[in-house]
Structure formats: C-alpha cells, structure tokens
Symmetry: C2
Subunit: 338 residues, 2 copies
DNA sequence: GGGAAGACTGTGAACGTTAACAATGGGTCC
DNA sequence: GGACCCATTGTTAACGTTCACAGTCTTCCC
C-alpha cells in the first residue's frame, strides 16, 4: 500500500543483476538447462524469489513461436455434451501445460467456423480442437488455413484432419438391439437435427440394427435436441397405434417424450419402452429413471488433446489419426419386456 | 500442395516493401491512424491482401502490454449455471474484441484459485472474471496479485473486488412467499452446500420470508446440488408428517425430490408443492413441470464483462462496483393451493 | 515571400525473452 | 605438456510490433 502503481514488474535483467549473473543464465535456470552450476542456480532462484519475478510469457512466445495455448471452437457450450467435452479438453490441456482459449459459436455456418479459426490463429495458438458436430462445420475444416494443427471432435469422415469421436452408430445399434431383445416388434426413433453428424450416426445404428433383425424401420420423428421437441414427438407417438419401443437420440428429448407420455396416460415402461442417449446427470432421476447410452466425454476430451499434442510436438509428416471412443449401455427403469 | 512448409509468414516489413512505404506506415494503416493519405492506405491494404499478411498479435502484445485476452476462472463448467455464465461471458468478451482464456477448477480450495489466478496473470491477461461462488474462493480474491483487474461473479461481500451476482436472497424470498401465499403453513427447504454463497443466500431469503410471515423455519435438509442428494432429501421429506411445501435450492435437486416423492406415492402438487431454482431447460418437462426461480445467466455474463472492461479501460482509481441482477419467478405445475 | 501550422511519412529504439555463438576454465588422455 | 573436450558463463542478435521523434511537403495567412 502506498505507491499508486507498484513499481514496474522486475524483468530477467533485474534478476540477473541481483544474482550477479547474466540474463542468459537466468533464462537457463528458468528453462532447466542442465549446464548450470547448482550454486549459481540457487543464487538465481533466490533472486527470483526476492524480487517476485515472473517470466513474461508473451515475450517468450514471440521468440519461441510457441504460445503454449490451445484453441477450442465449440457450438453452444450450454448443452451438456459440448460442455462436458470442453471441460475434459481443458483439464487435459492444462495438465499438459497448455492454456485454453475458447470460442463458443452461437450458430454454425461456414463463415462462423472459419472466423473462429482465423481468430484463434491470429492469437497464435499452437493447435485447435473443434467441437462442432455439424456437417457444415466438418466440411469447413478441410480447407483451413494450414500451419496450425487441428483435431475435430465428432467430426465425421474427415478428409484431412484428425478426428476423435464416440461411436454413434454403435450407440444407436446398442439401444435398438436392447429393445429388440426385449421382444419389441420394432423400434421408433426420435432423431436429432439432420445437420448433425451425431444424429446421423444414431439413425444409422438404429437402421442397421432393425435391418439386421429383419424389421421394418418406421419413419423417424424429427427433433432438435431440445426437451420441447421431444415433447412434441412424444405427443405424436402417443397418438399412434402400435408404438411399444422408442429410441430417442438424446436424454433431453427423452425427457420431453416421457413428459408427453405421462400427460397422455401412456405408462413407461409398461406400455412403451424408452431409451435415451448421453446419460446426463439428471437421467437417473427421470420418471422413470432412463435407460440410456453413455458417452464418455471425458475420454473424448483427453483423447483429442493427446492427438493434438502428438501433432504439435511430434516430428515428421502429420499423420491423420482417427480415434473412436466406444459408448456404453446403462440400463435403468424405462425399458421392459414387450 | 507442393511445399512441405509454406514459406514463412509475411511480416509488416514485407508488406511495407511491397507497398513501397515504411513499416510504420503499415502499422498506422492497421491501427486506423487518421493521418494516412487515402491513396497510401489503399496501396498498403492491397499489399496486405496480396501477401495474405496477418498481424502478429503476440509481438503487438509485447509492446503494448495489452493482450486483449480475458481470463475466466470457473468451477465445474459441466453444471448448467456455471456453463451458462461462462457462455455469456465469452459472447460478451468476443463482442468487445477480447479473447477468452479459461481455467476450470475441479475443486475449489484456496490454493487452487490462487494458482489459476497466477496462471492467467502469467499468460498476460488484461483482466479476470472469477465464477466461483464458494466462500473459500471469494476470500482468496481479496489478497490477490494486484495489477490485474478482477470481477467476481456470485462473489459475496467482496471487500476489494467488484461483484456481479443474482440476488439469491430475493430469489429465496420469492419462492417462499409464493408457497406461503398458496396457504401452506410453513415451507421446508433443501439447501445447497454450506460453502456456497448462493446456497446461503437462498437460505437467508427463505428464512426472511418465513420470519416475516411469523412462521417457524424447520431445519433445512442438506444437499450438494446433485439430483441424488435431492433424491435423498426427498425420501426424508416423504417420511415426515406435515410436509406440504418444499423450496429446493436448485432444479437438479428438485428433480431428485420429485423422483423420491413419486416413488413414495406422494403426489405433486396435490399433496406437496415444490419450487426449484435456476430454471434449467429441462425443468419445464419434469413431472410435473417445475415452478422455479429463473436466473438470467446471460445478463450476469454480460454485466461482468462490462464491469471488467470499465476497470480495464477506464481511467482513474478503480471503483469497486457491485451489480445485482434480479431473479424472476416462473410458475408451472409443481405448486398448488394447500 | 516568410513563416508557421498541419498533414503525412520515415528512422531508430524500445518491449523481454530465447538462440547462436564465443569465451573461460578445468580436467583427461596420450 | 599440449590438444581437446566439456561444463559453465557471457555477449550479441534476433522475434515483429508500436512509440517517440524527426523529417518533408503542403497550405495558408499576413
């Protein structure tokens, strides 16, 4: 207290003077260069401590050309899936000593993704993770400003860029096979928006399972991931005859379906079985507790950072990896024998 | 295609040469300095375009001492509240031309917050928003590395640092008064963890409303925000006599309470009325749809950036602001006349 | 026509770090 | 004992931008 603007932050030269060495020796101590006499090292360390010196990472980044910052582009981090993935990414990145700079897109159009990418590249990030599971986003990645490594999460086919994703097709298949195994004649599906690769994958898994069992696939009902859209789909389903099993593409919509059924007096699981997707923390406490497919978002986040760092730090030509995380099945009380 | 490593990025000097001016003139064009002949400006702009030049923000930050990056420290961005707040912050920051660097804490202890703050300060952020509504976090902010402006979201009393928050006490009061107005003798409360300021505020509002109406306040039941803890509290409440109205400190726990009541055959709202807090997207589709207190996380995010920027860009002594966002009341179907 | 004000442009020096290279000193090996 | 190596340290020059200041060229006024 006292001086209005504490005297200027000490720099490396100040530490050097204090310790009676050159600034380069200070730099060497900071960077753990092996060839520094241990007595010198302690002297420098003491000086650093005494002066309260902190290395200026901006200056460092300027000369090394590495910011130790990773960029994350995501769509609507308010949703549980993206939020969890970003969280996993952030944890993994920090553990690896990287900062995380984030851009949340409100809507995904080609130019939005491109802008976000440019924006992050300008800032000098060492690599970028794109959590944007829409087809439109995935395509944009192909023709990106080169030079900065990229990993796509849930990124579809991926011509040129590495991808980490959950096996959505397998998830859809698991859900459907479970319902079929319970003796249901066929399985209805409330799908996610058609622009989303995840939605497509789940539809594909559902179709495949039905086809394999030789059952007809009813027309899927369209949703937009929101509980409301699930509710509306639920009302439609409740009014239709012969619906005994529904696979809903995410837990939020499943909640809406459950609500609609409950309003219409349709008992779950007595009259209709319902399976969701995601396993959000709430699912276990739905009425009834929801049987669902769990995605390990944490693993996705961790893996994407691993792949990205391999690209950043690795030598040689950038191999384009594709890493698939398996989903798992969580049985609760919303499904029953037909 | 072709060169394995595209030739080095052009720098300002390259643009200058191309346009036949000095590097300083290029800088002036980039920074929209008024005294540049418009013909010169176009020439520079063309050169920039032709070369595909992009300004190096790291070098710029080194000399200006401003990174145009804001730090965000948050606790568990997987929860709806923090996620929404961070989202609002990010949108507002980007709109103001700032990058956002984020640190998500797994648990909040004094040293965790301090480390996060140091970490961000090292990176050279121009300001920090701390979304850490625990008392322990709030206290740490007081004795922080000075020099970098800070705003606390949901930060409690705040000796020295600006705070933006939702009026939790008012929220608790609204919920309780609503239930009292419906004719309930008293209102039970499932509270959040005691370390959280938000939990305290809601308890205080609930107590105040009961006291004002001259009613006795039953012992609150402890929860940890999770649906499971709500479920357990719900089981206790279901087994107790004379419970007709419950104010639950967040929607997730309210879901657990609803589930427990449903299992025990307690009808909501016929036998017991329930009010939640947050208004998460799911609440509208609970069984029954939940009456709750809505927090405008978006406004909180926007306001916190406004306050922070005022501190960063404003001249003069840093005024310590306190901005309170009012909660609003959402009536749905989980409450009824006693 | 002399001078001053202002518009426009250029030159050199920061900013704080790491990289590259040079210098010193002590030892080892033959 | 001289060549050579290695550990340790210092010196100088980048990195790519903005800032401070110094020009130059108009223009305008008396």
């Amino acid at each position: 207290m006292g001086s209005s603007q504490a005297r200027r932050m000490p720099v490396m030269a100040d530490v050097a003077r204090e310790a009676g060495v050159s600034h380069q020796t200070v730099s060497r101590v900071l960077n753990e260069h092996p060839n520094v006499r241990s007595e010198t090292r302690t002297r420098v360390l003491e000086a650093i401590d005494k002066l309260g010196y902190r290395r200026n990472l901006v200056a460092r980044a300027l000369v090394t050309k590495h910011s130790r910052t990773l960029g994350v582009v995501s769509f609507d981090t308010t949703l549980y899936g993206p939020a969890s993935t970003v969280y996993g990414i952030e944890q993994a990145a920090r553990a690896a000593g990287y900062f995380v700079s984030i851009v949340s897109l409100k809507s995904i159009d080609r130019s939005g993704v491109r802008d976000a990418l440019d924006y992050l590249a300008d800032q000098g990030v060492d690599g970028i993770v794109v959590v944007a599971p829409q087809r439109s986003a995935a395509q944009t990645l192909a023709d990106l400003a080169p030079g900065v490594p990229i990993v796509a999460v849930e990124g579809g086919e991926a011509g040129d860029v590495s991808v980490v994703c959950v096996d959505q097709v397998e998830g859809g298949r698991l859900a459907t096979e479970h319902l079929l195994a319970l003796g249901h004649e066929t399985v209805w599906h409330v799908r996610g928006p058609s622009d989303w690769l995840e939605a497509e994958g789940r539809v594909a898994g559902w179709r495949a399972a039905l086809a394999q069992a030789g059952r007809a696939a009813p027309e899927p009902l369209a949703g937009d991931w929101s509980p409301r859209s699930g509710y509306e789909a639920g009302r439609s389903l409740a009014s239709m005859a012969g619906v005994s099993a529904v696979f809903v593409a995410n837990d939020q919509m499943a909640l809406g379906v459950l609500r609609a059924f409950s309003e219409q007096g349709v008992k779950v699981p007595d009259q209709v079985s319902v399976v969701g997707f995601d396993d959000i923390p709430e699912s276990e406490f739905f009425s009834p507790p929801l049987t669902t497919i769990r995605q390990d978002f944490d693993a996705v986040g961790r893996n994407s950072i691993e792949v990205l760092l391999r690209q950043i730090e690795g030598e040689g030509p950038r191999a384009c990896e594709r890493l698939v995380v398996p989903p798992s099945f969580v049985v609760r009380a919303s499904t029953a024998r037909a």
